[in-house]
Symmetry: C2
Subunit: 194 residues, 2 copies
DNA sequence: TTTATTTCATAAACTACTTCATTTTCTATA
DNA sequence: TATAGAAAATGAAGTAGTTTATGAAATAAA
């Protein structure tokens, strides 16, 4: 599988020697999932953090009534996991499911712990990645509170144009925290405005 | 000011030698704020990450209509900042304001960057802190989507009993993403249930 | 003590969004 | 090309939460 996307990604944050790079990849597992396969299942211990080379996943919470609430999508050059389960090694709150055939590099829990010791710079890499993820998450909370569903949808379209085209509408509705019927209504409203 | 709370806090994650501990504190600034003072103002560059020794702060976003949306409270042994502004050194999206007289230790941007180099273990410390903060933030998004305001209020009370007693009700409503009137309604509803 | 200010409570009218039921469009595969 | 199943659209009725307004209670200031 093509290592370049991950190498380029890491180079945005830190510089690895070629030995370090080799050591890193020696501890990664390449993995291919088919559409609809699960990478993590709610209730299981999440065993990996995954860097996507190609494909698309959704991360969602399934409540007692069987409704799914999508917390995020991931595509090429992004990460996917249930981080809460991964870092605590407790049962996952979320499912991670492929919505396209997906290729990724897997960091297992033990291998990543070893890598942190062998290549301390990786602490910095993941610190920075997590900082950015946290900031994005906080901003999303604010948007959910202070904007209408229509405004949230328009921001989503602008921010993630690639995702909008690859993902069915009912999943986007779930990500936005509204019903598919209401998103449909918003879209027809927008198209009548033009 | 009493260093022990911060030392104890750090010891939960990493072990510092006494030299490292001294170096760390030599780069921290002790700071006291009065009730209602701002630590960060929306639009300014956030210059510090702050560890609270005593007191209480709220972090909030003020929208164009002048409504404030509280994204979080912080009390003793917690952090407070606008992390997005701090890590990018771009203008802050949030205000951080003291709602009690507050004593804290400040990590300035430059000092923290130096500390990361001088004490690389701090990368691990802040990686872990941020991981936990991110996980909590994701869970909050899900709660906001999948629970009613009443359920969210009951979870808040259970999770942060100390904060509920120190913070006026209209701020709790803002944190929960509802109006103060509706929180009032929820509370009377709950009291009639018993 | 009086007065001003903030906080909390209650109620009626309103709106953003949901639920449910039905129909239409799209996509895949035989 | 026919057909089945999934996804999207539509509309009517219902609900959670908002808005606005008003008054009471608590707290602080004078």
């Amino acid at each position: 599988m093509n290592k370049k996307p991950l190498v380029d990604y890491i180079n945005n944050y830190i510089t690895l020697t070629s030995e370090e790079e080799n050591l890193l990849f020696s501890k990664l597992v390449e993995r291919k999932y088919l559409k609809d396969q699960y990478i993590v299942q709610q209730g299981d211990i999440c065993k990996s953090v995954n860097f996507i080379i190609s494909g698309c996943t959704k991360t969602f919470y399934m409540n007692a009534e069987g409704q799914e609430h999508i917390i995020g999508f991931s595509i090429e050059d992004w990460w996917t996991s249930d981080l809460g389960s991964f870092i605590t090694q407790n049962p996952a709150d979320f499912n991670v499911q492929c919505i396209e055939n997906t290729q990724l590099f897997q960091f297992s829990y033990n291998n990543l712990e070893e890598l942190y010791v062998e290549i301390p710079k990786l602490e910095r890499l993941f610190r920075k990645i997590t900082e950015r993820a946290f900031v994005a998450s906080q901003k999303r909370i604010i948007r959910n509170f202070s904007l209408t569903a229509k405004e949230r949808y328009q921001i989503f379209k602008k921010t993630y144009p690639k995702i909008e085209q690859r993902v069915p509408q009912y999943m986007i509705a779930s990500y936005l925290g509204i019903t598919k019927e209401f998103l449909s209504k918003i879209k027809s409203q927008i198209s009548h405005e033009q």
